[in-house]
């Protein structure tokens, strides 16, 4: 352990340094505009896609029906007990994040994260209203609140709140029929929960995206801390070719130009950075790899007639190779390596498993809950009865008659207790509903099932019309020895 001199008196707390990113043009900026348009388009417009669902349900393609606990996605209908689909999608999202991070660093952060996308949108609106970096800086430093400053600030905050409202509004449309809810919201007839959600999401959108901005990434988000575990020396990150750029400095005529590096210290990369960092300092926790500094630097290199790529996507392993004069590894070699291939395999296996589960699932479903208090009932003729609660789900748009039977032991017979206490083997289940029905399974006196401890057998439920059937294995408890 070494020690240095005690540092001089310093501030324990620092105020935030406001960041005024300058406008930039280039291929990565264009890519970000496209991603912003697509992702925001999906988010704002999806609830308005219509889909015919018959007379009783809203004709909405994507709908989370909390009251009835159903999730509709185009032709797919998910019930709560099929939550594993959601779990599978979340696992895929996680693995996908690992894949993209190990291949190309924090591309999620830089391009697709809602925090980035909305912050980008809020900064764009800010620029439209107050002007580019220098104009915004001037306005910020201007102490006097004249009419112009008040007007600009008012328009800006109003626009921000409108964006927030649209965002919170789009969220609630996923939970109810969007056109009806819009009318209700405007006329004041919507459920208080809708207004509350709308208000909270408006506030959080404006606060996170427009006010807190990069502080969410730096202080609140756990992902920058986790990402290091996903990245290695072959991961593509945004980096500065210091061996090419240094020593940096203004290029003056006659000065020892040959000794100077390509970096002219124009601060373009710093001025466009939405995180307020200097990429030339190397890898930093704050860097979300949005690549805007690449665009800014390339633009400058073009102007001074130097090759592009002083700031570029590259991997750590490229640095020693380039310094020693070798060619850097081609990009595909960075991307296709065992680690990313493993992530891809895992990701697609989960995906195929989900697709498989989606295609084999039936629109009848049954779960069997044996009543184990008591384990069996002795009937007066010596027969042994077991009781089961069957949950029958009709995931179909019309009422259906289900027939229940048992197999696996010929002596077992089943009767269902209908709602009117009559016994039978069929039961009607309403469209899109679940019904609990009690099933009595009996083994006659002296039969093997009655006298042994446990007998495996199978419940079957079938719909005579669609010829669908589903089975569940369970156990019959006898008297034992």
């Amino acid at each position: 352990m070494s020690s240095t001199d005690t540092p001089p008196e310093e501030k324990l707390y620092a105020s935030r340094e406001p960041i005024f990113p300058r406008r930039v043009k280039g291929k990565f900026r264009n890519l970000k505009w496209i991603i912003m348009a697509v992702t925001l388009g999906i988010y704002y417009l999806s609830p308005w896609i219509r889909w015919d669902r018959g007379p009783e349900l809203p004709d909405q393609a994507i709908l989370i029906d909390l009251a009835n606990r159903r999730f509709f996605f185009f032709w797919i209908e998910i019930w709560p007990h099929e939550f594993y689909f959601i779990a599978g999608l979340l696992i895929m999202a996680g693995l996908g994040l690992f894949l993209f991070t190990s291949a190309a660093g924090r591309v999620w952060c830089g391009y697709a994260c809602p925090q980035t996308v909305w912050t980008d949108l809020f900064i764009l609106v800010e620029r439209w209203i107050e002007g580019d970096r220098n104009a915004r800086l001037r306005l910020h430093r201007q102490k006097k609140w004249d009419m112009r400053k008040i007007r600009l600030r008012a328009i800006k905050y109003l626009s921000w709140v409108l964006i927030g409202l649209a965002t919170g509004g789009a969220w609630v449309f996923y939970f109810a029929d969007a056109p009806t809810l819009l009318v209700d919201l405007v006329t004041g007839h919507a459920h208080p929960a809708a207004y509350l959600t709308l208000g909270i999401l408006t506030a959080t959108t404006v606060f996170f995206g427009a006010i807190a901005r990069e502080q969410i990434c730096i202080y609140a988000c756990p992902w920058p801390r986790i990402q290091a575990a996903m990245m290695d020396e072959d991961t593509l990150v945004v980096a500065y070719r210091h061996w090419r750029g240094e020593p940096r400095g203004k290029h003056r005529k006659g000065a020892n130009a040959a000794e100077m590096g390509d970096c002219i210290d124009c601060m373009a990369c710093v001025n466009v950075c939405p995180m307020g960092i200097d990429i030339r300092d190397g890898q930093q926790l704050e860097c979300i790899t949005c690549a805007l500094c690449i665009d800014a630097c390339d633009e400058m290199m073009d102007k001074i007639g130097k090759p592009r790529g002083l700031i570029d996507y590259m991997a750590l392993t490229d640095e020693p190779r380039e310094i020693s004069g070798q060619e850097p590894k081609p990009v595909w070699k960075h991307i296709f390596r065992p680690r990313t291939i493993l992530y891809t395999v895992l990701w697609s296996s989960v995906g195929f498993a989900l697709l498989f589960a989606l295609f084999i699932r039936s629109d009848i479903d049954m779960t069997v809950a044996p009543v184990r208090n008591p384990t069996y009932v002795l009937q007066s003729d010596g027969a042994i009865r077991n009781i089961y609660d069957l949950r029958l789900r009709n995931k179909h748009g019309e009422k259906r008659e289900f027939r229940v039977s048992v197999s696996g032991d010929d002596t077992l017979t089943v009767t269902l207790q209908g709602a009117d206490n009559t016994l039978g083997d069929t039961i009607a289940v309403n469209a899109d509903e679940m019904r609990i029905v009690r099933a009595y399974v009996e083994a006659p006196a002296g039969s093997k099932a009655a006298t042994s401890d446990r007998t495996d057998f199978t419940f079957w439920v079938e719909d005579g019309v669609a010829n669908e059937r589903v089975s569940v294995d369970t156990v019959f408890n006898g008297k034992g020895q």
Partner: protein, 292 residues
């Protein structure tokens, strides 16, 4: 924007230095806000413990009051259906109706609180306490008979209670030892359709004694249990021909029953429960699988 040098704390491990970045000021402000919130919260809500109770808080919020309020609102909500259940003739309550499903659910709660101590939480009964899931009923398994049994109970001090008393054939010396042995064997043979000396529940008896016991049974037992031994629900006399034995169907237990008799008692629940609760318990018991 000039680059600021970050101070280090002076600590260094394996060449890794600990930076001393200043905290964002708003973190400090959030911390102060949390302290203020904490103080306000303990003033507004129940918080500081005392010897017997805690400070109530100026908002006067209490979980107990909230529960009481909720119970009251549920009772108000159910008042109409509850009144209907109390006034109903149980035989006329249609399964599948609102009153029926309300009654069954309420009955399940009544059963757990009042009946499960003897009959078991699953209603499977116990030694001397009938199983309510099977299709054998001492006093009748129709809904009105079940309701009557719950209302007035069995062999208790009330006048309306179900009542019958089996003679203590041995203890009161009504029968000789030989006759008791014969009667026991005959009673057991009733639940032995094969006649091989082992009855439906595995109890063994002497086939010759049983043959000799037919006469003893006819003169002493048949008046209640019936000539064929199938019992009589009007006297609570058990069916001796089936597989269900309240106290056990083995030889020693049956001997004990004949010698000392049995006197099972059930309280008159009508004295303790409301009419709606009695009806609810009857509906619940009746739909357990054995109801007739």
């Amino acid at each position: 924007m000039s680059k600021k040098e970050v101070e280090t704390t002076g600590h260094s491990w394996d060449g890794i230095e600990e930076l001393n970045n200043p905290l964002p000021r708003w973190w400090l402000l959030v911390w102060y806000a949390c302290i203020l919130w904490g103080i306000a919260y303990t003033v507004a809500m129940p918080a500081w413990p005392g010897i017997k109770s805690a400070t109530a808080g100026v908002l006067g919020w209490s979980t107990r009051a909230e529960v009481a309020e909720k119970i009251a609102s549920f009772e108000e909500m159910n008042a109409a259906v509850n009144a209907e259940l109390a006034a109903a003739d149980v035989t006329m309550i249609k399964p599948g109706s609102d009153v029926h499903s309300y009654g069954v659910n309420m009955g399940a709660a009544v059963f757990r609180a009042n009946c499960s101590q003897c009959h078991g939480s699953g209603a499977a009964g116990n030694f001397g306490y009938p199983n309510l899931l099977d299709n054998d009923w001492l006093w009748g398994g129709t809904i009105d008979e079940v309701a009557y049994t719950i209302q007035h109970g069995v062999r208790n001090e009330t006048d309306e209670a179900r009542y019958s008393e089996m003679p203590k054939f041995g203890a009161d010396e009504l029968l000789t030892d030989e006759e008791i042995d014969q009667a026991v064997a005959f009673a057991m043979s009733l639940s032995d359709p094969e006649g091989d000396g082992t009855n439906l529940v595995g109890g063994t008896y002497d086939v010759e004694l049983a043959a000799a016991g037919a006469e003893v049974f006819e003169y002493n037992c048949a008046s209640c249990h019936g000539e064929d031994g199938t019992g009589d629900i009007y006297q609570g006399a058990p069916d001796l021909t089936d597989a269900i034995w309240l106290y056990g169907g083995d030889h020693d237990t049956v001997y004990d029953t004949v010698f000392n008799a049995r006197f099972g008692v059930m309280p008159a629940w009508g004295q303790r429960l409301t009419q709606a609760e009695v009806n609810a318990a009857a509906l619940y018991v009746h739909q357990l699988g054995g109801g007739q």
